[in-house]
């Protein structure tokens, strides 16, 4: 009874959090800190948080497709083809394809992870400082050079994003860097206001001003599109599975996070389908990135549970919550705790099975939003963006930061500089810098050429760069 109650509460809460623009699992989990004391049974916290992670990952597709506002960092890639589909009256198809692909990959990778968890330790331990450094180079190269039409402007946007990401504390000297003496910036610029301001706000404004032809979808059309989305997921299963593999692998590597998984998967979908056009409503674009979504969430539990090393930003919060109730990840007591693993696996699977019909049913209501003039819910979305962005300190500086990010977003959009490249630069800047410092602190440069995995990744990076500049025809204009 207790189990069912916490499971259902987690499913409901996670789904709602997923629907809130740019909030995502991390924000939803942070809010749990305030009432974690009510979890007298620690395993119920495992059930609740697992349900939140699973369902928020599926829920966040709705915002991306229907409103062109990312539900979370990872779901931003879904916008590129999902929203154009919604604009031409195929919102239900896009959502169905998105949910189905995300669900199937969540199931596959969830089972692979939770049934064989201890066996992954060798992969995590085998991926050292050199491998991480070269893998980061490779993934950023793929996103910028293979996907973007304006790769040079993409590079500039990437550099700008990296610069913004470097604001804060210099990890080399522990001195403030690029903060202009502002104490508020000492801990760096936070992810959510950047997501909300740079990516979401300009889209919100465009949608407000846009006069879209409303396409009424009756129940028959919605049902037909829902079935079509499921068929699409099957027809383009290799795009989804490839995305799942990419997401699954990135989740295993600590500290990279979900957003890059989805964008990397999206760039590979484009690379593998050279003759197709993306960014204008291609369902394969939706399927490719959504494959990575839940797969990455599932595998990020591997380093978290086995080593006590968070596999993604939301896992930092999970670890803190679990520690609060006496479950410290990576410790022998947890690794020997079969009850913990049973609750993790069962709640993961139950959440998946509950959220699938709920999501399919919700499509019917979500697509109706496309029939409602955007002006009616503009303020609601704006309020939720502001709320999400001001959870850092809740003080005036949070609001000013959001406003500054919104101005940067509008400028980038107007000048056609890829905001996605900017965001990827921003998100990965700390990781790239720390990876560089770790590498140079422990190794010499020539050691990249004498070890198999780093060498292969360097070669792949070079190939991706040359291919992207000279041969790739399947580029899209990133937002």
């Amino acid at each position: 009874m207790e189990y069912a109650l916490f499971l259902l509460l987690g499913v409901a809460y996670g789904f709602v959090v997923g629907l809130i623009p740019v909030a995502g699992a991390t924000t939803g989990l942070i809010a749990i800190y305030s009432f974690v004391g009510y979890f007298h049974n620690p395993y119920m916290l495992v059930v609740f948080t697992t349900a939140v992670v699973v369902t928020s990952s599926i829920g966040d597709s709705f915002c991306s497709v229907v409103m062109n506002i990312p539900g979370a960092g990872g779901a931003a890639a879904t916008m590129l083809d999902g929203f154009p589909m919604a604009q031409r009256g195929e919102a239900a198809r896009a959502l169905s394809a998105s949910i189905s692909t995300s669900w199937v990959n969540g199931l596959i990778w969830g089972l692979l992870v939770f049934l064989f968890l201890p066996y992954y330790s060798k992969i995590v331990l085998g991926f050292g400082v050199r491998e991480m450094f070269t893998f980061l180079l490779f993934s950023v190269t793929c996103v910028v050079f293979i996907s973007s039409r304006y790769w040079f402007r993409g590079l500039i946007a990437l550099a700008l994003g990296i610069f913004v990401g470097l604001v804060g504390l210099d990890p080399n000297t522990a001195a403030p860097r690029f903060t202009g003496g502002l104490e508020y910036l000492g801990d760096g610029i936070q992810m959510i206001p950047v997501m909300a301001g740079v990516l979401a706000f300009p889209e919100l404004l465009s949608a407000y001003r846009m006069h879209v032809q409303r396409i009424y979808l009756d129940n028959t059309a919605i049902k037909s599109q829902l079935l079509q989305g499921i068929k699409d997921s099957w027809q383009y299963k290799w795009d989804g599975l490839r995305g799942g593999f990419i997401g699954g692998f990135i989740g295993l590597i600590p500290g990279i996070g979900g957003a890059i998984a989805d964008w990397f998967a999206y760039s590979q979908t484009i690379a593998f389908n050279k003759t197709e056009e993306f960014g204008k409503g291609n369902v394969r674009g939706v399927i490719g990135c959504e494959g990575a979504n839940n797969a990455q969430k599932a595998t990020s539990y591997v380093p978290t549970v086995l080593f006590g090393v968070p596999g993604a930003p939301f896992e930092v919060i999970i670890m803190g919550l679990f520690m609060y109730v006496g479950l410290e990840m990576g410790t022998p007591s947890v690794l020997a705790d079969q009850v913990f693993f049973d609750h993790l696996l069962s709640s993961y699977l139950w959440s998946l099975f509950i959220i699938l019909p709920v999501s399919y049913m919700f499509i019917k209501y979500a697509v109706k939003i496309t029939n409602v003039p955007f002006q009616y819910y503009f303020w609601l979305i704006l309020a939720s963006l502001v709320w999400s962005s001001t959870q850092y300190t809740g003080m005036l500086e949070d609001y000013l930061m959001l406003a500054a990010c919104a101005i940067v977003g509008l400028l980038l959009k107007y000048l056609k500089f890829s905001r996605i490249s900017f965001l990827i630069g921003f998100i990965l800047s700390a990781r790239v810098e720390s990876s560089y410092m770790q590498f140079t602190g422990l190794y010499e440069w020539h050691e990249l050429l004498t070890n198999t995995v780093p060498l292969l990744l360097l070669i792949a990076t070079g190939i991706a760069m040359v291919y992207g500049v000279f041969f790739n025809k399947a580029k899209i204009d990133f937002v």
């Binding site: 305030s34 995590v124 050292g128 600590p254 090393v309 006496g326 410290e328 809740g394 422990l442």
Partner: protein
């Protein structure tokens, strides 16, 4: 139900922290070590305090801005309590900060220590040490340099060793550090006692090198760590070199180590706060309750609590250790490691 609703509203930011009974300020993000520690202690403390505690996170660089904000404005609220950690103690000595422990009433603190360990089979005296730099790791790095170079080490010589024979690997958080140590990319690591026990105890690849020892409130000296008998820094040093550690660099290390470890976790209110006695009494009751302490020790390791006026004594002892030359040597050395340390003359009594 009402209580749950209030908590939910608070989590949504609808109810301000000012309306709560007590607000504990944590100078870092949710999920950090001190954040979790505060949540664990607050849960137990509420029972003895009889009032609700709301935790407010004020994160920032080096966990300094939250403490500065407490100093500048929040401390004037009688229901606001600051939670500081060892990194704040280190920053107090060598960084530009606004906060000043001596302007507050101390409530309680946990007198903790840190353990250094190395890969089994690795001899730190022979091989080059590869150790991760991070928040609060400078005393560990200094003690390692002392341990492998013996008595009478000067600051100038320590700077040379740091520059030429030591790899202080930057850019690693605690998770990166643990994985790199397990992989063997790092050959020396450090953990709190509780974390070491949880992550490495019984693992073949790691062995405890030494514990930094525990500060004795009565003598003002660092003594043996009850969790690691015979493995305190001074004991291991003496066993290796035949004499007790001493010298200018050792004094600089001890100063930094004490400000980090003695105040590893501490609670403060403004001087003259009318609730000081109530808070201290609640801590005393909690410390006397075996069930509450068992719940706390599970996460922190078993270390002594210093409560109320005893904490004032401890602070005075720490302050007495700040000698001009010692502080100058410490700052001089840390600057050589790229840290923007500043010599704060006002700290010298």
């Amino acid at each position: 139900m009402k209580k749950l609703l209030i908590t939910l509203l608070a989590s949504a930011g609808i109810m301000s922290a000012a309306q709560a009974e007590y607000t504990f300020i944590v100078p870092q993000k949710p999920g950090g070590g001190t954040s979790v520690w505060t949540a664990v202690v607050a849960t137990q403390l509420e029972k003895f305090l009889g009032e609700k505690i709301v935790i407010r996170h004020l994160p920032g660089a080096n966990d300094i801005p939250g403490f500065n904000k407490f100093h500048k404005e929040l401390r004037f609220d009688d229901k606001t309590v600051m939670i500081s950690h060892g990194g704040n103690g280190e920053s107090y000595l060598v960084d530009s900060v606004d906060y000043d422990y001596y302007q507050y009433d101390p409530i309680a603190m946990m007198n903790l220590t840190i353990v250094s360990a190395h890969q089994t089979g690795f001899d730190p005296a022979v091989g080059e040490i590869k150790f991760a730099a991070g928040s609060g790791t400078d005393p560990d790095m200094m003690s390692q340099i002392l341990m492998i170079n013996g008595p009478g080490l000067t600051t100038a010589r320590a700077k040379e060793i740091f520059a030429n024979n030591y790899r202080y690997v930057k850019g690693m958080n605690s998770g990166d550090r643990r994985l790199a140590y397990q992989r063997g990319e790092l050959n020396v690591t450090r953990e709190s006692t509780a974390a070491y026990t949880k992550h490495y105890e019984g693992k073949d690849f790691s062995q405890v090198w030494y514990s930094h020892g525990v500060f004795n409130l009565k003598t003002g000296q660092v003594e043996a760590d009850p969790n690691y008998p015979g493995k305190s820094f001074s004991e291991v040093f003496k066993a290796k070199w035949g004499v007790a550690p001493a010298g200018e660099f050792y004094d600089a290390y001890i100063l930094l180590r004490n400000f980090r470890d003695v105040m590893q976790k501490a609670l403060w209110v403004n001087k003259g706060n009318p609730n000081t006695d109530q808070l201290r009494e609640a801590f005393r009751k909690m410390a006397a309750d075996p069930e509450a302490m068992a719940a706390i020790y599970k996460d922190t390791g078993k270390y002594e609590w210093i409560i109320g006026k005893d904490m004032v004594t401890a602070l005075d002892m720490l302050r007495g250790q700040i000698k001009p030359n010692t502080l100058r040597n410490l700052v001089d050395f840390l600057q050589a490691t790229s840290k923007p340390a500043v010599f704060k003359e006002n700290l010298i009594k």
